[in-house]
Every structure is written in C-alpha cells, then in structure tokens.
C-alpha cells in the first residue's frame, strides 16, 4: 500500500477544479411522483451541470373537471366537490362558493353562522400552515419540526372533525348558513343543533398549544444556520413579477405587498377583530416561510377573539327548500390559506349553474415556475418549490 502524501492529494484536488468540465445540457425529469413536488407535478428541466436552464411544468394529472361537473349538479351538490379543490384546507374552499350563491339569492347569513364559518376557516388556515411548517424544514433536511407540527395539526383536525364530521372534506356549509353541527344531536331535531358541547373551550385551549408549537418550530428551524443558508436570498420573487403572474396569498405578501382579502373585501366579519398582516421584505424562500409561521399566530389570535365574541342565534337563514338561483353573474373571492380563491358563477335562473369558473390560488402561484426556476441550482429548486406551498388539487381542479 502506498501512502498518499497529503500535499499531493491537495494538489490533485486543485488540478481537478481547474479542469474545464464539459457539462452538456441534459433533460432531467422530476416527478410526477417525487416527494418534492407535493403530489403529481412533473417538471421537465433542462440542466447544465447543477444549474437549471429552463423548466417546463407539466400539470393536469389531478384534473377532475370540476367546472364541467358543476354544470350538471345542483348548487348544493357542488359544495361537496369544491372542498376537494385544495384538500388541505377543505373548509375554506366552501365558504366563497356558498357566499356567491347567497349574494345572487340575496340571503343574509345569521351572525353566529358567520362566526362559525370564520373560526373554522381560520382553523383550516392553521392546519394548512402547520403542514407547511412541518414539511418545509423537512425538505431542507430538518426532520424534527415535522413530528411536532403534524401532531398539533392533528389536534386541530380533530376539532374540525368534531364539528363537521370530516377531517378534510367537511361539506359543512349550506346556502344561508351552516349544516347542523355533528355534535348537536340528530339532524331531525332542529331545536338543539349547534356546536358540540365544549368545542369553543377546547379550541381556545388548542390555540395555546398551536402557539407553543409555532414557537418550537421557530426555535428548531428558523434560526438554524443551514436553513438560513438554503433559504435566505434564494428564489427571490419581486412584487411586480408576482402581480403579473397573479401570485396571491402568503407568497405575494412575502414579496412585500400588503394584500389580504380578509382586510380588503371580506365575506366574513373579519372587521370585528384586530389582527396584523405579516409581510416580508425580500420575497425569498425565507420570507415566505416566516410569513406563514406568523400567519398561524395571527389566525390563533383571530380565533380567540371570535370565541370571546361569538353571538348566539340561528345557524341558518330561511331559504327555499329547492334552491333556484336568480339569473345573474357574480364573483366572490376569499383569502384562502394559499391565496385568492374565487368562484365566478353564471346563473340562468335554474337549479344548476350555467357556468362556474373556479379561480384557485395554487394555479396562478405555480404559473410563474418557469420564470422563477430558470437559472437556479437543482437543490434550490427543491427549496423554492417547497416555499411556494402549493397543492396539486388546487392547481388542477
């Protein structure tokens, strides 16, 4: 065995660096089954060594044709479909849809129902962002936050389930209000239908744990040198580009645009509460991550205020048993956890909409992938994809 002289080894290493390596363009196929694509997104990347030259996203693997299906179902039947668009925050998808019908039909929703919608929407936001808070550090190599945040998210989902009967697909909104809650006894007895006993207290307590877990994730990941190295200054999205591509939600706010539909044009009584809209300065992966963590804290605060103020009263306005929606067109949008979610409904006066256009946040958020990924390093591609926090069901509809 010959001993390698360390000095000559160093010399060899230096020589290797100075050699011009030929890195011809190569097509790298990522997905549709790949952990970093969060579902069935396929990216066809042209790479030159470690550098991504261009990316062609291929979507549609989850396309279920909801816009066509909505044209053959009654409005009430479609509520069960729309909560499957972004399945991580199913409840939040239903609210703008029923609100659009309520607008067309001129129905006033009772305040208590509005508050329950608001609380459950914010819980959906928390559970969505907790998925992000657990999976994003994992993608960057930090696996501990996953266990903590996922456990707490499960508690939030349990609470959602105790009211709606479903962890992911509540199908809980009805035109004019909400469905009799699961804990409220038989739906035949219309007298005592309300939130399950102890729900509000349990939710209030759960918020304490949620806030604790966000602090934990903060301590475990945010200040971590490796996480910062992977995210700070990576995948910068300037505000002007974001607007041009229709990017909304935390991704837009991370780029410094203070635009939150809960403040701008809300279909739920957000005006009753005090909360901040966190924004970022640089629009990089780190800002997108920090903005979402802060949004969890704000949502927890909104839920607590709503629990303290929730009015009593009926859960549903008087509506005809057979929903005939007057002729007209309406667009109602709401701040979903992922961004602007909206429904454009054209009614011709019947029980079935003539046309439903679903504006989903992730579709627009993802449409800028070819722009933001061009010129990035392959490992940064994973960091950027994760920071955009999309759901393929929300992209494909």
């Amino acid at each position: 065995m010959t001993q390698i002289d360390p000095r000559s080894a160093m010399h060899l290493a230096d020589a290797a660096v100075s050699v011009e390596l030929e890195t011809p363009d190569m097509t790298l196929n990522i997905g549709p089954q790949h952990p970093s694509t969060h579902g069935v997104l396929r990216l066809v990347a042209q790479v030159d060594g470690e550098r991504v030259m261009s990316v062609d996203p291929v979507i549609g693997y989850m396309h279920r044709g909801y816009e066509k299906l909505a044209e053959v179902r009654t409005y009430a039947q479609t509520i069960a479909l729309v909560n499957r668009i972004d399945w991580v925050s199913g409840f939040a998808n239903e609210v703008p849809f029923v609100a659009a019908i309520e607008k067309l039909m001129d129905i006033e929703v009772p305040p208590r129902a509005q508050y329950i919608r608001l609380i459950l929407t914010e819980m959906a936001r928390i559970s969505t962002h907790l998925v992000f808070a657990s999976s994003y550090p994992l993608e960057l190599g930090a696996s501990t936050p996953l266990m903590h945040a996922m456990r707490e998210r499960e508690h939030v989902l349990e609470l959602l389930e105790s009211v709606t009967g479903g962890r992911f697909h509540p199908n809980f909104n009805r035109v004019g209000g909400i469905k009799p809650a699961a804990g409220g006894g038989s739906s035949m007895k219309k007298v005592s239908m309300d939130l399950p006993a102890g729900f509000l207290a349990a939710t209030d307590e759960a918020m304490t744990r949620v806030l604790d877990i966000v602090d934990d994730v903060d301590r475990l990941a945010t200040g971590n040198e490796l996480i910062q190295a992977r995210t700070v200054g990576v995948g910068v999205l300037p505000a002007a580009k974001a607007l041009e591509y229709g990017v909304t939600g935390p991704n837009l706010r991370a780029s410094g645009v203070k635009y939150d539909l809960r403040k701008v044009e809300s279909i739920l009584p957000y005006d009753d509460f005090e909360f901040e809209i966190p924004i970022g300065n640089n629009g990089d992966c780190f800002d997108r991550y920090v903005v979402r963590l802060e949004e969890i804290r704000q949502s927890a605060s909104i839920i607590r205020q709503a629990i303290a103020k929730i009015p009593s009263g009926p859960l549903r306005a008087k509506v005809p048993r057979v929903l005939k929606v007057p002729k007209g067109e309406v667009y109602v949008r709401a701040e979903n956890p992922k961004g602007e979610m909206g429904y454009y409904i054209v009614s011709e006066g019947g029980r079935i909409p003539y046309r439903v256009k679903i504006r989903s946040a992730s579709f627009s958020n993802l449409s800028m992938l070819p722009w933001i990924l061009a010129g990035q390093l392959v490992p940064d591609l994973v960091a950027i994809l994760g920071s955009l926090d999309f759901v393929l069901g929300d992209v494909d509809r």
């Binding site: 979507i59 549609g60 396309h63 044709g65 816009e67 066509k68 044209e71 053959v72 009654t74 009430a76 039947q77 309520e102 607008k103 039909m105 001129d106 129905i107 006033e108 929703v109 009805r174 004019g176 209000g177 469905k179 009799p180 739906s187 219309k190 580009k241 607007l243 041009e244 591509y245 229709g246 909304t248 635009y259 701008v264 044009e265 809300s266 279909i267 739920l268 549903r316 008087k318 509506v319 005809p320 048993r321 057979v322 007209g328 067109e329 309406v330 667009y331 909206g342 454009y344 054209v346 011709e348 006066g349 019947g350 029980r351 079935i352 003539y354 504006r359 627009s364 449409s367 800028m368």
Partner: protein, 218 residues
C-alpha cells in the same frame, strides 16, 4: 360609503361587509369604461364588467394595468350556446346570440377595485389576441381556455400545447355541446341517492309542495 340605505342594502346583500359601496362601484365602472373605450359596462353585485372590442383587448388591459389594476387574477371563457348536451339551457335559447365571452379579471392590490374585462368572440372566428405580452401569467390561463373551449390566442407561445388534457385528447370539454362522457357510460349514482336531476317541472312541483322552509338537509 353611501348615505342611501337602499344602495347599502344592495351591496351588503347576503354577506357582511363590502369594501366599496354601490355608488362608488358605478362611478368607477363609468370611469374605467371611458378609460378603455368600452362598448358596454355594468356592475353586477360589485363586479365591474367592461365589454371591449377584440382589437382593443390588449390595449384595454394595458390601460387598466396603468390605472393600478395590476394583479392578473384569472382569464376564462363562457360558451353561450343553444345546443346543450349536458346541464342547464339558457333561459330563452331562441333569442340567444351564439358566441364565446372571454373574461379577464384584473384587480388592484391597494383596495377592492377589480374589473372583468370582457371580449365577445364569434364562434366561426374563435380567436383573441394574447395578453402574454402584458401579463406573463396569462399564458396558462389562455392555454386552459384554448383547450377547454377551442379559442385561439395568437401571440401565446404555447397555446397549442395542452395544459390539463392528455396530449392525444380531442375535443373541447367545456363546450356546452361536449357530452359528459362518464355519464354516457354510466348514469350518475347521485341521481338515485339524492333526487331526480332537476327539470323545470319537478322543481316547480317541489316548490309548490314545500314552500319556504327553515332549511333542512338537502
């Protein structure tokens, strides 16, 4: 906010609070309509709808962008058709002018202002200049409208490439004349589970029978 309670009521129909009042909306509709040279404008439940000529489509979008409506929200189309394979007919099919309407929603990020820019596209010449030069985000939305409705968007570099549909797919699924293939093969099980698919007769019969209720389960 307006002083007139009736206008406030109109705006707040259904749900809580609105960022703008009715009178603001119509003033804005008028201002923006004049700005882009719209042939017709209206506001439906606070949604401003500006109809423009096809030649004016890109220029109108550019002007609105300059006016502060810089968030490209979405673009899609409606197929106004007499022939309906599945779903609901229009109210009076005989009077219907067969056409596509392409809608593009632009909104402000400073306030609640937003506009639906609408172009009427005839079916025998289904094309509309692409907005990609103005809003890069229009590319995917136009590709979706192209494959779903068969509308061409000259200027969009990838308009012929399917976005959602498999490459070999033929037809434009969101056309009213396009059947829902799964129902051709098998009747919808929801029909027996829930209720008959509504026709005009059974809707009226059901309404006569039940009248107003306090909203039971569907």
């Amino acid at each position: 906010m307006t002083d007139s309670p009736s206008e406030a009521e109109v705006m707040e129909s259904g749900e809580g609070t609105e960022g703008v009042s009715a009178s603001d909306v119509s003033a804005l509709a008028e201002e923006l309509g004049a700005l882009v040279g719209a042939t017709a404008w209206s506001d439906n439940f606070g949604v401003i709808r500006l109809e423009v000529e096809r030649d004016n489509w890109v220029a109108a979008a550019a002007k609105l962008r300059g006016r502060g409506l810089e968030l490209f929200s979405w673009l899609s189309a409606i197929d106004w058709s007499r022939e309906v394979e599945v779903g609901e007919q229009v109210e009076s099919p005989d009077d219907l002018d067969e056409r596509f309407e392409v809608l593009c929603r632009l909104s402000s990020v400073k306030n609640a202002d937003a506009v639906h820019l609408v172009a009427v596209v005839p079916k025998d010449d289904a094309q509309l200049p692409s907005l990609v030069g103005e809003f890069a985000g229009a590319e995917w939305h136009e590709r979706e409208a192209a494959e779903m409705f068969g509308i061409d968007f000259p200027g969009n570099p990838a308009v012929d490439k399917h976005l959602y549909l498999p490459d070999a797919f033929e037809g434009n699924p969101l056309l009213k004349s396009f059947p829902l293939l799964s129902r051709e093969v098998k009747p919808w099980p929801g029909t027996v589970d829930v209720e008959d698919m509504p026709t005009t007769e059974n809707v009226e019969a059901a309404q006569d029978a039940s009248g107003e209720t306090d909203g039971g389960d569907e």
